[in-house]
């Protein structure tokens, strides 16, 4: 026999799993700190790659200047400058990424809480069903 209430509940669960839930359930595999750190690492790597490419492009852009002044430029100071900017950019990106992804995680937990509440209800249906079966047997 069909239990329409259970079907409705299962439909809602399935719709959630198909839409927002896909992303939320992926995040649910991590603890908050782990997730934020993983994303911060990814951001750090991406920013590093981008920075290296930027340096290459900038080097070509300023190539003429470098060749003309090869003996005057203090490469040590320039290197420190480049490194300093890199550290600042990296820190800004990583900190914002940690914050942003933590917020994202928190938002997904809120939606997941609803989902788990529905799952508990579904579980309740099964408990009731099982209870009914036992009563009949007795």
């Amino acid at each position: 026999m069909l239990n329409e209430r259970k079907i409705r509940l299962m439909t809602k669960l399935a719709i959630y799993e198909k839409k927002d839930g896909k992303e939320d359930l992926k995040l649910a595999k991590y603890y908050k700190g782990d997730y934020a750190r993983l994303q911060a690492w990814k951001t750090g790597i991406a920013v590093t790659i981008a920075y290296v490419l930027l340096l290459v492009v900038a080097a070509v852009y300023k190539l003429e200047y470098f060749l003309d002044n090869a003996f005057i430029i203090d490469f040590k100071e320039l290197g420190m400058k480049v490194l300093g900017i890199y550290v600042i950019v990296l820190t800004v990106y990583v900190v914002i990424a940690m914050l942003g992804y933590s917020l994202k995680y928190a938002a997904s937990r809120k939606k997941l809480a609803k989902y788990f509440r529905m799952l508990r209800k579904l579980n309740h249906f099964y408990l009731v069903e099982d209870g009914v079966v036992k009563e009949d047997e007795e």
């Binding site: 439909t11 669960l13 399935a14 198909k18 981008a50 490419l53 852009y61 003429e64 209800k121 309740h124």
Partner: protein
């Protein structure tokens, strides 16, 4: 008058519900067609890629895949077109695309399409709509793809000229070419002003829209349009950026209207999406088509106001649910009503009192037995196509 508008709205929604699966890819196809052909019209260096067949194939692929694929294909097409005339500019472009992706685009993967749409819309001066729309449907993170779009728009202008320059393969020429490209990018005050103004517009629209006062949404759009006009006027006066004032004002207002329609459509269409899901339990496989209840035929609607105590039975304690648009039930387990008998369930259709605060019955009141009324717990009518689990197991 309002009744007629609402009825027209409902007819459109109902029709859209039916053909949604077809309409979305078709709209996306035409947008992709616009994107690829506009790339080809401005950078049509290699006739191989300008062929209509290539453009159509790319558009079809974009129509049936996520938005990010369209953005990727557009970048690829730009690179290939530039590569066909100038290897060095293509390499530079590739670098810039990677930098833009790593530093800006990867943080909002769902909005990558903005970076592609902005340069295309800018041709028709409709790019003002993007920050207003992003502010109203997204959050300030969408500043990143918008900035990307602005950079790409100006970059393409520069590249279009630079790529056709005759250069030898000597390093001097290449360096000079790069220097020229960067000089014209960095000196481009219009690009910087556009980035600043668009960022402010997104933030302002998003900020005002979040307030709970009446018409906050409409006011936020108006504020977005105003900030846009004022921003570019200031840019025009102070930083000597050329802006055609008439076009600016007209297109800003038009963009505001477009953003309003898009936002409305997005909200309405999100809520009216027919969902098809499948799942199973121990006994059955379920193939469920969940249709949101959007029927508001006002003229034919038969509203009966019931005294709640007349309808309330002991068994139906969870009738306080008046959630709207949301398909998650909120009642606690203690409030869970007992399961009604199956025959009872079949005798009526679940009434909806969403949006009205009163009980709206879809069936005639005379059809209803008072003790068989069950109030709804969700906004979906399920159409169930059931197969017996045991049969399917064979």
């Amino acid at each position: 008058m309002i009744t007629i508008i609402l009825e027209i709205r409902e007819i459109i929604l109902k029709a859209y519900q039916k053909i949604r699966a077809v309409v979305n890819p078709v709209v996306k196809f035409f947008f992709a067609l616009l994107v690829f052909s506009s790339i080809n019209s401005s950078l049509g260096f290699d006739p191989k890629f300008t062929k209509i067949s290539i453009v159509v194939i790319l558009s079809v692929v974009s129509a049936i895949t996520p938005n990010a694929v369209m953005a990727f294909l557009a970048m690829l097409l730009i690179l290939l077109q530039v590569y066909s005339v100038n290897l060095f500019v293509a390499v530079l472009l590739l670098f810039i695309f990677i930098i833009l992706y790593a530093m800006l685009l990867r943080f909002s993967p769902k909005e990558v399409i903005v970076a592609v749409a902005l340069p295309v819309l800018a041709k028709y001066n409709l790019h003002y709509a993007i920050p207003i729309l992003m502010g109203s449907i997204s959050n300030p993170v969408s500043i990143l793809p918008t900035v990307c779009g602005v950079v790409i728009y100006h970059l393409l202008d520069v590249v279009k000229v630079a790529a056709t320059r005759e250069i030898s393969r000597k390093i001097d020429d290449v360096v000079e070419l790069y220097t020229d490209i960067f000089d014209s990018l960095i000196a481009n005050k219009q690009m910087i002003m556009m980035i600043v103004v668009f960022s402010i517009v997104i933030t302002v629209v998003w900020f005002i829209r979040r307030f709970a006062f009446d018409y906050s949404f409409e006011i936020s759009l108006g504020a977005g349009v105003m900030v846009n006009i004022l921003g570019f006027l200031i840019a025009d006066l102070k930083y000597d950026v050329t802006v055609t004032i008439g076009t600016l004002i007209l297109m800003s207002v038009v963009s505001g209207a477009i953003a309003m329609v898009c936002d409305y459509m997005k909200r309405v269409l999100d809520y009216t999406a027919v969902e098809r899901v499948q799942f199973e339990d121990d006994d059955y496989y379920y193939y469920v088509k969940a249709v949101p209840k959007v029927n508001i035929s006002l003229r034919e609607m038969d509203i009966k106001h019931y005294n709640r105590s007349a309808v309330d039975g002991e068994d139906y304690e969870d009738e306080d649910e008046t959630e709207d648009e949301d398909y998650e039930p909120e009642f606690s387990e203690e409030d869970e009503p007992e399961e009604p008998e199956e025959e009872d369930v079949k005798e009526y259709r679940a009434p909806s009192y969403r949006n009205s605060g009163s009980v709206k019955l879809l069936g005639k009141p005379s059809d209803l037995e008072e003790d068989s009324i069950e109030l709804p717990e969700d906004d979906y009518e399920e159409e169930l196509l059931l197969t017996d689990g045991e049969e399917d197991d064979k």
